[in-house]
Subunit: 350 residues, 4 copies
């Protein structure tokens, strides 16, 4: 059994890591940490897991965590991860980090997050450094000691456009994303205040969201000439899920999205071929929605096509494929397990 | 492996049976029937299960179903079940029926559902007849050939009051239940029309709901003198879940619900003792809610106490403990498996 | 024109007072106060009123407010009202107070709110003191200098049961209320956190809610022998509205709620007669819901009847009939205007 | 008083016309028709208006309607309007039509709606024909006998982009719209089925929605060279409202959206200037949302700006500014009333 440590386990991603790992046949949770809640039974906070999980939040040193765990998943805010990850790695364990700290080159990180990086040696360090943990594009996570789990928005956005970017067909990519509010975390805020969100939708950080550089980095890696990338997020009245509507203006035209159309068929085939060996991306011949993937690690993608525009719609659960599930997918690869091991929990629908 | 047939698999309970059985180590689905959709791949309808399940809806005869299955779960409307169940049983298979057809004595059924019963020989027939499939009260489901899975409301209502009824302490029991709308099924209706339900709540069948006789039957079985039983259901803006607020007026008084109070403690202990050996009832020292049990087979119960009133609040997922999960719980008992086998899927929260 | 001051205008009830008074032909808003936001344009906070309202939040002394206003509506927390109301009254203005400070006799207030009352001389002082501002029961608000606007839950609960209480027919009254979350105010909290509330319902303060004494007081005033009064509130996923399901166990029996039934008819007629001259109570021959009254000052009531139980269901908008609208209704009466003046805004449905 | 007829008054737009006209000082409703419901009191269907409105649905001939009314508002499906409108006009009344029948040139209509137009003489007929009833762009509605009220999506989309289109600055306009479900009408459907919509969002008619030609027509009228117009609608879990995120790629670049930025300021000023005399468009220096306009005739617009992209976000209530309110706005202009007469109902927020 792989021994897992969860650092920062009191939030939604922590709860999801536990939920998912409870069904994993090859991993067991050794430690769940929380500075604030040390000594409190985990199920006092994650009440839904009552009777299913016995551990108590602890607050051990990084060295203690490292020595007790084969893998540590860090679910702490950006800035906090770079403090603890080096100690964990020096302690001999491997790490999947859910924060933004290891996703970007140092100069991009520092410009985006307006803070100095204190562990920049691991950024962009090739085999020795952090790997961007989107397994569909980066099989090299298997050999990594530190994997930077992508942001929730970038996961859905990158996967929606990667096949066309890879084919060098995209001139402008405009990602219009709609997210459930759990991505904002467990702490109440104006955004998550029910009277502000119910029966509503909010566009925010319209041209400035911090996840944009991840999207630019990954699509740019597929097509170095693709620079017209835009991203606008919205919060919708939903707990979970991100639907990304990717408006992809092509260099050349394709025809209408009717099902008999050859160009639609060609692009659908392009997507299916690109994702042939990725078990969690389901390319569909219809437009998916959030219920199709709720609670699961799937990313469903559907397509429409008209003139010079392809619209790719991706649906993920932001807490699973957009965070905790993808972390376990990375773990599976890092430990030589089947990518889907313990992760084929069916979506909850309706 | 137990071979399972699902008769009427295109609705929500059918989808849930498949979702739950996909994770069951001792059962496999042999047949999923739908008259209307025969020949259609199941995942064309239950899209969330895409890639996880390969069967196609079929429309075989009851005899064919019986010969292919060790257990058949019938998820058809009341009235339809009594047509097919006898043929299934004669074919040698066992049955868990999700309809109302086998839950009540014939005279109560006929008065409640305003139709004649065509298989009344199996009602109230003791060892040879149908058993009311609430395993927490009826361990005799283990030996039954035909189990009548309870209604969703009765499951939550009965469990919320059973310990006090069993102790003969209740004078009036007023069940005020609040249900998600998935109980009304997959077909759009005025009730499920989003503009009618969102930001709203509807009381309906306020004194006349067909589930009342099941509650009366089971609580009356625990306390023959308890006749003051009332039940009012509401639909709330939620997909899943039933919260039942049981206002239980006692023959004698108990004191206030403050945690230091001895009577509260005594009643909490009464509940814990009553449910000591029932793995799916979690008696809590707080008031549970729908998120605590979403997607799972748990029934969480919390209590408050003041003067001569105990308020017991139960939370279930109407599609799981209120339907498909309870059917599998019954199956486990019928086939000598651990009651929890394949059913400890953690709730999905948030 | 009646000059109105709003003390504490930055919350939901403040916004609603402005919204409603903008359409009032005989009143104009002279002052809106907020200590924290003094100097900020009101529409910076109440953005929906942008372009419709020009005032800026101020922080004048009570004396200044009193001298500028014919009526002051105080929308401040309990405890804060009793500090300012005496000064306002001494300044010669009249007051409608939305807090709990003037609703209860001093000993009940102090036991319920666990604090000393510093203006107790105005409680229970008859003609000279505060009047409980439920105009349907208390026409004497017309002559009052200080009106205590009722709580939101008591408004719906009392109106649902008053005709039967007045007829001395009720033995036990169990009010099971379901409220939108705007009653908890503009500040984010765990209760209003979208992931905690959406797809959920929460029972809280199950036997101990502070609004219970108001219900007991008013129904006891109608029927001194009625002591079996219980109240359990819930928060539902809705912004506005309270549906109260009043389970009323009668001393004697009435028959089933079918529409041809004489007892149902008799009780419906009892309600219609009781509310004959109250323009905001609409007694219906169906069960109302929140959409029927959304945004309006109406209280809709419907009935069902079975055995010894009458179930009365009332629907109000908690921010209007449960707070700001009722305050204006009281204002109309205090200033000799028609009770409905400026208050017949149609509900917003769907 | 202007005498108004509402043809097809049983749906949401009919209910909204009545709600809004009840507060209009210069208009009164003379007739509300419904073939199916003739003889039924209007408030049996629009229960929220109980006590406020006395008429009964009728089914008179077009000639009778025309002779009784100064203006008829037709709220019937496309195809049905072109049958009745000519008879109404011949009867001497004026018409605002909420259907799509008179919005487009005949060839565009017939291609879009796949049916022949039987009253094509009124399309594109200049002064004698139908006028596109978006008053912010078409003051000539004042003199029209037949006004074609725009679609809900086009209203929000066109207004979000018109100032930049008018300035000939836009190269590509990608409208990503998110609508409440009331636009789909009162009849239950899979789309409006609560379990399908709650906690979800659906993209549909991604490149093929019938409202696209209206957007193309109006923006093309402002800038004949603007051809790169795309439109993708979504349904969100909301009853009312459309938020349109207009991704406008410019011929030339503008700079970042920070508030100190001169280009942002220039574009904000461009919008404010363009809408200087339009009382229902509120150009804001923040990003509006649906609650800001709920229940009102306002269209709020906010802006962000980065590189060569301007993102304009517009919020409307689809049933008011997107339908019934705009019809009354057109009516006001047609009858020489102030444009805002009876239409300044404040939005309902929260």
């Amino acid at each position: 059994m792989i021994k897992i440590g969860i650092v920062g386990g009191s939030g939604y991603t922590g709860g999801e890591l536990i939920r998912l790992l409870l069904g994993h046949p090859e991993a067991e949770i050794a430690i769940v940490t929380s500075r604030r809640l040390s000594g409190t039974p985990v199920t006092d906070i994650h009440r839904h897991l009552s009777g299913l999980f016995d551990l108590t939040f602890e607050n051990p040193s990084p060295e203690e965590i490292a020595s007790a765990c084969d893998l540590v998943i860090t679910a702490v805010p950006h800035g906090a991860a770079m403090e603890i990850v080096p100690k964990l790695l020096e302690g001999g364990t491997r790490v999947v980090d859910l924060s933004a700290d290891y996703r970007l080159p140092v100069e991009v990180f520092e410009a985006t997050y307006a803070r100095a990086h204190t562990d920049s040696g691991r950024l962009g360090a090739g085999d020795q450094g952090a790997v961007f943990g989107l397994p569909e594009l980066h099989p090299e996570v298997a050999g990594a000691r530190i994997v930077a789990n992508p942001g929730c928005y970038p996961t859905g956005a990158i996967l929606s456009a990667a096949p066309l970017a890879n084919a060098k067909m995209v001139k402008y990519a405009i990602f219009d994303s709609k997210s459930g509010v759990s991505g904002a975390g467990v702490d109440p805020s104006d955004t998550s205040h029910y009277p502000n969100l119910a029966e509503n939708i909010r566009a925010y950080n319209i041209t400035t969201h911090r996840h944009l550089p991840e999207i630019v980095q990954e699509l740019g890696w597929l097509d170095g000439s693709l620079t017209g990338i835009h991203f606008t997020p919205h919060v919708i009245p939903a707990i979970r899920g991100i639907l990304t509507t990717a408006h992809l203006l092509l260099h050349e035209e394709c025809d209408s999205g009717s099902s008999s159309n050859s160009d639609y068929d060609a692009i659908l085939e392009l997507y299916r071929e690109f994702y042939r060996d990725t078990p969690f991306v389901r390319v569909q011949d219809y437009i998916p929605n959030l219920a199709d993937v709720r609670g699961s690690n799937f990313c469903d993608i559907g397509l429409a096509c008209s003139g010079n525009r392809v619209v790719a719609v991706s649906a993920i659960d932001n807490l699973v494929k957009g965070a905790s599930g993808q972390a376990i997918q990375n773990m599976n690869l890092m430990f030589g397990l089947p990518e889907t091991c313990g992760l084929l929990t069916p979506p909850l629908s309706p």
